[in-house]
């Protein structure tokens, strides 16, 4: 049965939270330190910006980045899927780093992905890095999907929204206290829109102050849920600098 673990609020031994409950446009969403969002009401697990085969994409262009990113990303994805046992997995676009990624995917990784897909539904949302249906993999392929009160799309729609979960921007937050800053990838939500952190092992982040984020959120309500080493930290946007 899907979603049996959903009700658990996960905590570390010290009582520090691994997840945080938020409401986005009326829908309950659990943001997990692992970088995934869980919709307990519908058994949907959301991941965004996997950027699989990023290393290989760079290698094709002559930059020999370490070839371990795909294995790392898939291992983390497998752990998250094992924890939530979702009915549906939505990969919110930029699942592959480039157009050749899925076609050139080494066989061992393809088998791992297929094993993860087994027994559940899977939707690939179209991203700017991967505008085509993944080659040789199961799952639906579309540019938008609606679940409960939320629209799933890769790029956030400019301006205020009617309820959305999006990726693309790789949000990160920088918290400054006592003259020192710590920057971490984060979930960002103002209650209407949820921006997902990038899940891929070698994906960078873009700060919430970046102009690309402008106009996406009601900043007075904007909360960042930062992905720490062992827990998740919630900090209001207005309090980033103390």
């Amino acid at each position: 049965m899907h979603g049996t673990n959903a009700a658990l609020t996960l905590e570390t031994q010290a009582g520090a939270p691994l997840t945080v409950d938020v409401t986005v446009n009326g829908t309950a969403v659990i943001c997990d330190r692992a970088g995934v969002a869980w919709l307990p009401g519908s058994g949907v697990l959301v991941v965004s910006d996997l950027h699989l085969e990023k290393g290989a994409a760079y290698a094709r262009r002559g930059m020999m980045l370490p070839p371990y990113d795909t294995a790392m990303t898939l291992a983390r994805l497998a752990a998250a899927i094992a924890r939530y046992n979702p009915r549906l997995v939505v990969s919110l676009g930029d699942s592959f780093h480039d157009r050749k990624g899925s076609a050139h995917l080494p066989e061992c990784y393809r088998e791992q992905l297929q094993a993860l897909q087994h027994g559940r539904a899977w939707t690939w949302i179209e991203g700017n890095h991967d505008p085509d249906r993944p080659v040789g993999l199961e799952g639906d392929f579309c540019s938008e999907l609606k679940v409960e009160t939320l629209n799933f799309r890769h790029e956030p729609k400019p301006g205020m929204t009617d309820g959305e979960i999006a990726g693309h921007l790789h949000p990160a937050a920088r918290v400054v206290r006592r003259g020192k800053g710590v920057r971490r990838p984060c979930f960002a939500s103002d209650g209407k829109r949820l921006l997902m952190p990038a899940f891929g092992a070698t994906t960078g982040g873009l700060e919430l102050r970046h102009p690309a984020m402008r106009g996406l959120f009601d900043r007075s309500r904007l909360m960042a849920h930062l992905i720490g080493k062992e827990r998740i930290y919630s900090v209001a946007f207005s309090r980033m600098n103390g």
Partner: protein, 877 residues
């Protein structure tokens, strides 16, 4: 004939040597401080041993001039086929000496017939670290070449040379090409390299001492090895200021082999008149700490008024900005005082340089961007503000004020705090005894080697055996083992990973004939775009906009220069800071530009952005220690400083030369431990990191530490003084050399310093591409993060060749491990602990730094927890 009379009868002496054509001629003239006695009437042929050939002889004679002894000696030596190193002070005519062998050879050769091989190859390559220097030399060589009607064509080639001219130079090269190290690397990676360099006779390296200690020098050494292969008969001529270890330079100039220690010949010209250096005698109180030297501004201003043109050197850009601002604040006479540092917009810098050349300025506040040998008009005084961290750096800067060897240079040192008074005095002593300390060149970087290997493949297919013997003939790579070299080839080909998944994307491939060849022309293109070893921190343009009613108007406005991205990350909109001589308000970042507006504040809110701090050199540190330990030397110091040391003697004790003084005392509910190793900030920071780790384990509950060039302070919740007294804390154990083993490894792996080093190695080695200005993608989420790559590599392949290169670099430069190791060895069994009731006089400066300097250490996630708790508290209130 006395020097003075000599000068008076020769108007050419009025010019500063080598800054202009007339000065160039002057530099040919008989020199006054050399051992060879010359008179104006005596023909040059009277010089024992060697004479100039025609038309040089006649040309000199027609002007009643003579070459200097070292110029002739160098010529004589090179004619026998030797490569040579010439060490001479500024103003000794050493650049001309370097060119004489080449010019005489070209004159003897005559004009090659067009279409012959000689017409299509370079004869002489002159390589300077500064492109401005190359341009200067071209101007200076032009006149004698013209007047003697020498059949010689001279051209420059720098990053500014138009593409069309560069292309023409490859097919129709000049006889003498004046260029920079990067351009040489580009030329040898070209497919025409073999023909272009086949007739190369001489390679002249100017300012060699400033090149070899850097990765830039490593790359140049590799390029030289290739040039030797293309033109086996070539000779090198190195020109250098005085250095601590000239043999290192002599080795650098000639091919090395495992069997022999080959050295180029050496000619050393003794220094000219002793420089006249004083420490600013201030009526004001010299501060305990800080770097601004604000107390001395009125006195510095007065010295500007008393001189024709003053060059004011500082150690950091923030100091330059601050000093400039303060000088203008009291500049009641509106003296033309300008600012010059590396972050300013290039056009602005050129304007300052031009005004300087026309003698329109009374003073320029500058950082090390002005360090190397270009002339700046009639400078009659150098003021150095702050500690002149290395004695050789000081010598170079003082050389600036006077390029005539026979006249003493004038300089005034202005220490910013009391420790700097000691340092300045030590530097003065060092300069008088002629002691110099440039850092050793070190082993060649593996990242540099990777770049070179790709370049060589781009030139033509190579055989690994041949390339290995070529590379190991370069002195920085003489110790390179074959296994490491092969790993570098693998790295260049596919990244060199244990997981072999990139074979099909390999950049270079081994052909059936055993030679390595680039896979496609794009690889060569990529190499050209990423050449070089100078990695700057990511910088953003600073653009001035104006505000109206609280909003920014348009985006126009002039660029002011560049600042490091990491500095901007610490700013919030509305913060004000000092840059380009103005107080600016940070407005925000738009794409890749930092938008600022003029602020009307009196003082900037964010005090500074520190760029480039030099550590205290080993030699100077030793002199400072010696001076403190020897009260007889204190008479040279200002009273307030010697009184301070005397107080220290009474209250605690003085740090001795060969031991380490440790003081412990309580203060404000904390317990402090202050150490005085005098090993420079970098080594102290490393020591601080390691000590706090150990103190943590020993239960002292350390809270933080702060490091300066002279001392290190650690504070903790536990009373470390009584821990030492009761034997719970064993100092011998605490400072055991084994801290450089496991503790270092454990800490290093987590350290941001290693990440920063890795980034440079990754770019230089070609693992990630340079960020080219204007070509960055907007939305930086698509660029590769070196930090993330580092993490991936460390967890999957901790022994990867690039991580090895990173650790070696960090140990050499960023962490000063060698210096720390030497210190731990020196103090073993010589640790003196003083348990005090109160802070000691010597501890005051570092205690004052505590509030100002950021506490060194990593930014921890505890900050996030704190922020998250804020929220919780707010929710519950």
């Amino acid at each position: 004939m006395s020097n003075g009379a000599h000068r008076n009868t020769n108007p050419v002496f009025a010019a500063i040597a080598f800054g202009s054509a007339s000065a160039f001629l002057e530099s040919l003239h008989g020199c006054t401080t050399l051992s060879v006695v010359k008179t104006e009437s005596a023909p040059a042929t009277d010089n024992p041993g060697f004479s100039l050939p025609e038309p040089f002889l006649g040309w000199f004679a027609s002007r009643g001039w003579q070459p200097r002894a070292h110029q002739l000696e160098l010529l004589a030596e090179t004619i026998t086929g030797r490569s040579m190193l010439l060490i001479a002070p500024t103003g000794a005519g050493k650049t001309l000496a370097g060119f004489l062998p080449s010019l005489t050879d070209l004159a003897a050769r005559g004009k090659p017939k067009s279409g012959t091989a000689g017409a299509r190859t370079l004869h002489t390559l002159y390589i300077s670290p500064l492109k401005a220097l190359a341009v200067d030399i071209e101007r200076n060589l032009a006149r004698p070449v013209e007047e003697m009607a020498l059949p010689v064509r001279i051209e420059t080639r720098t990053g500014d040379t138009p593409q069309s001219k560069r292309a023409r130079q490859r097919t129709d090269p000049p006889d003498i090409l004046l260029t920079t190290p990067e351009q040489v690397s580009l030329l040898i990676a070209n497919q025409h390299a073999e023909r272009l360099f086949s007739g190369l006779r001489y390679v002249i390296f100017d300012e060699l001492h400033s090149l070899i200690a850097s990765k830039r020098g490593h790359l140049l050494a590799l390029a030289l090895a290739r040039l030797r292969k293309l033109a086996p008969g070539l000779q090198t001529i190195g020109l250098s200021a005085t250095v601590a270890d000239p043999e290192e330079l002599q080795r650098w100039l000639v091919p090395q082999s495992p069997a022999t220690d080959a050295l180029a010949g050496r000619i050393t010209v003794a220094g000219g008149a002793s420089p006249h250096i004083t420490i600013l005698e201030s009526e004001e109180r010299i501060p305990w700490s800080g770097h601004s030297a604000r107390y001395a501004i009125p006195e510095v201003y007065q010295t500007i008024k008393d001189h024709r043109t003053t060059l004011i050197f500082v150690n950091t850009r923030s100091q330059a900005e601050l000093l400039f601002q303060e000088l203008w604040r009291i500049n009641d006479d509106s003296l033309p005082i300008a600012l010059h540092h590396g972050s300013l917009d290039a056009a602005q810098r050129r304007r300052v340089e031009a005004a300087m050349g026309r003698n329109e300025l009374r003073a320029v506040v500058a950082t090390s961007t002005l360090d190397l040998g270009i002339d700046w008009g009639d400078v009659d005084l150098v003021v150095h503000v702050g500690a002149p961290k290395g004695a050789s750096r000081l010598a170079q800067r003082i050389g600036r004020s006077n390029h005539r060897m026979d006249e003493p240079s004038r300089a005034i040192l202005t220490p910013a705090n009391r420790f700097e008074v000691l340092e300045c005095q030590a530097a003065i002593d060092a300069n008088y005894v002629g002691a110099q300390d440039t850092p050793p060149g070190g082993d060649g970087g593996l990242d540099v080697l990777a770049q070179h290997v790709l370049g060589m493949a781009a030139a033509s297919p190579f055989d690994a055996d041949d390339l290995y013997s070529e590379v190991s003939s370069a002195s920085p790579y003489a110790q390179l083992d074959r296994e490491t070299f092969d790993k570098i080839i693998e790295f260049v080909a596919t990244g060199g990973y244990a997981l072999k998944s990139y074979e099909r994307y390999a950049r270079i491939r081994k052909q059936p004939d055993g030679r390595w060849r680039i896979s496609n022309p794009q690889v060569a293109q990529q190499y050209r775009l990423n050449i070089g070893t100078i990695i700057e921190a990511p910088m953003l343009n600073v653009r001035l906009t104006s505000r109206k009613n609280g909003t920014l108007t348009g985006r126009g406005g002039p660029p002011l220069g560049k600042v490091e991205e990491y500095f901007l990350e610490t700013l919030a909109p509305g913060d004000t800071f000092l840059f380009s001589g103005k107080i600016l308000r940070f407005e925000g970042i738009r794409e890749n530009e930092c938008m600022v507006s003029k602020a009307w504040d009196q003082d900037p809110k964010v005090p500074a952005y520190a760029g480039g701090k030099f550590p205290l050199s080993t030699y100077l540190a030793d002199s400072v220690r010696a001076m403190i330990a020897d009260p007889e030397k204190w008479s040279a110091l200002p009273d307030q400083v010697s009184d301070w040391l005397r107080m220290q003697q009474q209250v605690s004790q003085l740090p001795a030369r060969d031991s380490l003084l440790i003081e412990t005392f309580p203060r404000a509910e904390r317990f402090f431990m202050v150490l005085y190793p005098f090993e420079g900030r970098v080594a102290h920071q490393t020591l601080g990191m390691l000590l706090t780790r150990r103190l943590e384990r020993l239960g002292a509950q350390p809270l933080g530490f702060v490091a300066t060039d002279y001392s290190l302070a650690v504070w903790a919740l536990e009373d470390m003084g009584s821990m030492i007294a009761s034997g719970r804390l064993d100092l011998g154990e605490l400072f055991d050399e084994d801290m450089l083993g496991d503790d270092l490894d454990a800490w290093l792996n987590e350290s941001w310093m290693l990440k920063r080093t890795f980034r440079a190695c990754a770019v230089i080695s070609g693992l990630i591409e340079r960020r080219h200005p204007g070509k960055e993608k907007s939305g930086r989420q698509v660029t590769v993060s070196a930090d993330l790559i580092y993490d991936v590599l460390r967890s999957h392949e901790p022994d990867h060749i690039l991580l090895r290169a990173t650790r070696a670099d960090a140990a050499q430069g960023l962490l000063d491990i060698h210096r720390l190791g030497a210190m731990l060895k020196r103090i073993k069994g010589h640790i003196r602990h003083r348990a005090l009731e109160h802070i000691s006089p010597l501890a005051v400066p570092i205690m004052l730094e505590m509030g100002r300097e950021p506490v060194t250490g990593e930014a921890h996630e505890s900050i996030l927890a704190e922020a998250a708790e804020d929220l919780l508290a707010e929710a519950q209130s």
